[in-house]
């Protein structure tokens, strides 16, 4: 969902950017009768005040604290004595000169690229498949997709550990049955192989949102367009590039963007599978901040890592936020 949003992959579907404006672009935005702007001009402010207050306190304050802590030395000693020791950029210097940090950054970016690419490619393939099958299969496939989507990430993590279990896991049993040498094969012996399982897990749960959303935007294309294209002698590939793709492109962009954010900061699945193991080989940025802070009680360093994470995501966020606000404005 997520999200949603949100934090979870089960975040709801984002509002489509191409939502047709409710009452046509020419019509002025209806000012509520009674004149919201003249009389009772304070009402909207009173209505949003609690949410603004909540967001500033619960979300804004931690962000401010995070930035502040990233300039402090805050270990267990300082925490217990409630001392504030400002050390300037020392935490950033420590983080940025740590070779392991750069390993983690490169690894996280690679993980994001691979997962987003797989999610979008497979999601699009499943969307096209949904459009190509007969009605009964379409319903069955949709139900299967919603099932995979709805499973809580932590349950999914536990399930995948069982599927890929060394001794009794069904994956090894099936592969062995196919004549491959997978008896007692350990999937969690190396970082790459463990990342393979994590990727399978993340992509499996991410495909449904992408496939169902892209399929929804495909169905908005009128069949006449396809017929016209076919009459002009366009083959399946040409019909895809000339008719289908332009229709789904805006939605695909939003989904790609959301996937980048979700995969970049993923925590639950990576932590759940092997806590960053074996031998710290699957530690990603979110996990690294956690281990530095909660694990080693180096809160200053952990805060600096968090700030760097936020900065890395900010550029993309700004673009996405602008697009969403614009689509919301159109709806009014």
């Amino acid at each position: 969902m997520r999200p949603v949003t949100t934090t979870s992959q089960a975040a709801p579907v984002p509002a489509p950017v191409t939502t047709p404006p409710g009452r046509g672009p020419a019509g002025p935005v209806p000012a509520p009768p009674g004149g919201g702007r003249r009389r009772g001009g304070w009402l909207p402010y009173a209505l949003v005040a609690p949410s603004v207050l909540a967001l500033l306190v619960l979300l804004g304050w931690p962000v401010v604290r995070d930035v502040a802590i990233s300039f402090q030395r805050l270990g267990l000693a300082e925490l217990v004595q409630r001392r504030t020791v400002w050390i300037g950029l020392e935490n950033y210097r420590e983080v940025l000169t740590d070779p392991f940090f750069w390993t983690v950054v490169v690894r996280t970016v690679l993980f994001t690229v691979v997962n987003v690419a797989l999610t979008m490619a497979l999601g699009l393939a499943v969307a096209l498949l949904l459009a190509a099958v007969s009605r009964g299969v379409q319903i069955g496939l949709s139900v299967a997709l919603v099932l995979a989507w709805a499973v809580p990430p932590i349950s999914a993590t536990v399930i995948f550990q069982w599927l890929f279990d060394t001794q009794f896991g069904i994956v090894n049993q099936v592969l062995t049955g196919l004549g491959l040498d997978f008896a007692d094969h350990s999937w969690f012996a190396t970082g790459v192989s463990t990342f393979g399982v994590i990727t399978a897990l993340v992509v499996w749960q991410a495909i449904p949102l992408v496939a169902l959303s892209l399929f929804a935007s495909m169905t908005s294309v009128s069949t006449e367009l396809y017929e016209a294209a076919a009459m002009d002698g366009a083959g399946p590939w040409r019909r895809f590039t000339a008719v289908t793709w332009p229709a789904v492109r805006p939605m695909a962009l939003v989904l790609t963007f959301l996937s980048v954010i979700w995969d970049f900061k993923v925590f639950t699945q990576v932590y759940g599978i092997r806590q960053g193991g074996p031998n710290r080989e699957t530690v990603t940025m979110a996990l690294y901040a956690y281990q530095k802070g909660i694990g080693s009680r180096e809160f200053g360093t952990a805060a600096a890592i968090s700030v760097i994470m936020m900065l890395m995501l900010t550029a993309g966020l700004a673009w996405y936020a602008r697009m969403m606000v614009r689509s919301a404005e159109e709806e009014q």
Partner: protein, 276 residues
């Protein structure tokens, strides 16, 4: 025509195969949970859970503290959802129905909050809650989940309000309703399904949340179900039957809720497409 029909059959076969692959992990969880241990720890897979047994569910729910964890999860999640809806509903009304200075900035704030990398706020959230003496206390998680669910609750409800034709309120006001009266008598009843769908989604998000619960609640009787589930395997060794039963119990309410509201929520989000 014949070629096309052949293509359709092939596509259907691929579609069925993909559906089976996508659904398999869920099936395997439930199937494992219902099998006798001997069939689980076997070198040949038993595809069907036959004979059936409920012993693993019994093992799971009789684990120490299970009821505490269930209660913790329910209390925290329900309180957070209630707070979220109460805060978000008025805000959604203001955003979808009124024009005011700063509305655009407010929308921007909500979107930024919704996409904010909460994973990067784990450390400061932990320290703020620690300073407030709230670690290992349920209100800490209530506030956290309120923060996690609020932005998308506002955003989603905004979509539902926008989908209600303004003409209905105008008609009510022509008939002598006050503006607030029109909201209460016309908008609110029409918004009820949207409120339910949004609450359910907030519920699922908070129910599934793992990272903050892991860090904020560390005393043994203060865990929530996701953290219990994650530590289950370590506590149980190789009792995959028990683990899958626990996982099924935790997943089932989410699956049911999700299947019920999924369609409505997607519809609400594509709001605005509703013709007046």
């Amino acid at each position: 025509m014949i070629r096309r029909r052949g293509g359709r059959t092939a596509m259907n076969l691929v579609g069925i195969a993909v559906a089976l692959v996508m659904a398999f992990p869920v099936y395997w969880m439930a199937s494992t949970a219902l099998k006798p241990s001997g069939d689980i720890l076997s070198t040949t897979p038993h595809v069907l859970p036959f004979p059936l047994t409920l012993e693993h569910f019994h093992t799971a729910v009789t684990r120490p503290f299970f009821l505490d964890y269930l209660r913790n999860s329910l209390v925290v999640v329900l309180a957070a959802v209630a707070l979220s809806i109460l805060t978000a509903a008025p805000a959604a009304l203001a955003v979808a129905r009124m024009r005011w200075r700063g509305r655009r900035a407010y929308l921007l704030l909500i979107i930024l909050a919704q996409t904010a990398p909460l994973e990067a706020l784990l450390i400061p959230a932990f320290l703020v809650l620690r300073d407030a003496g709230l670690l290992n206390r349920l209100p800490a998680l209530v506030l956290t989940y309120f923060m996690v669910t609020l932005p998308f609750t506002i955003w989603t409800l905004r979509g539902f309000v926008a989908a209600i034709p303004v003409e209905l309120e105008e008609a009510a006001m022509t008939d002598g309703c006050t503006r607030l009266g029109a909201y209460r008598r016309v908008v609110f009843p029409l918004l009820a399904p949207g409120l339910v769908a949004t609450s359910v989604f907030a519920f699922i998000t908070a129910w599934n949340e793992f990272m903050f619960a892991l860090v904020i609640m560390q005393e043994q009787d203060k865990l929530t179900l996701p953290v219990w589930l994650a530590t289950f395997r370590t506590a149980f060794g190789t009792d995959w039957g028990g683990t899958m039963a626990a996982s099924t119990l935790f997943t089932l309410p989410v699956l049911v809720f999700f299947l019920i509201v999924q369609r409505r929520l997607v519809a609400g989000l594509s709001a605005g497409a509703v013709k007046g």
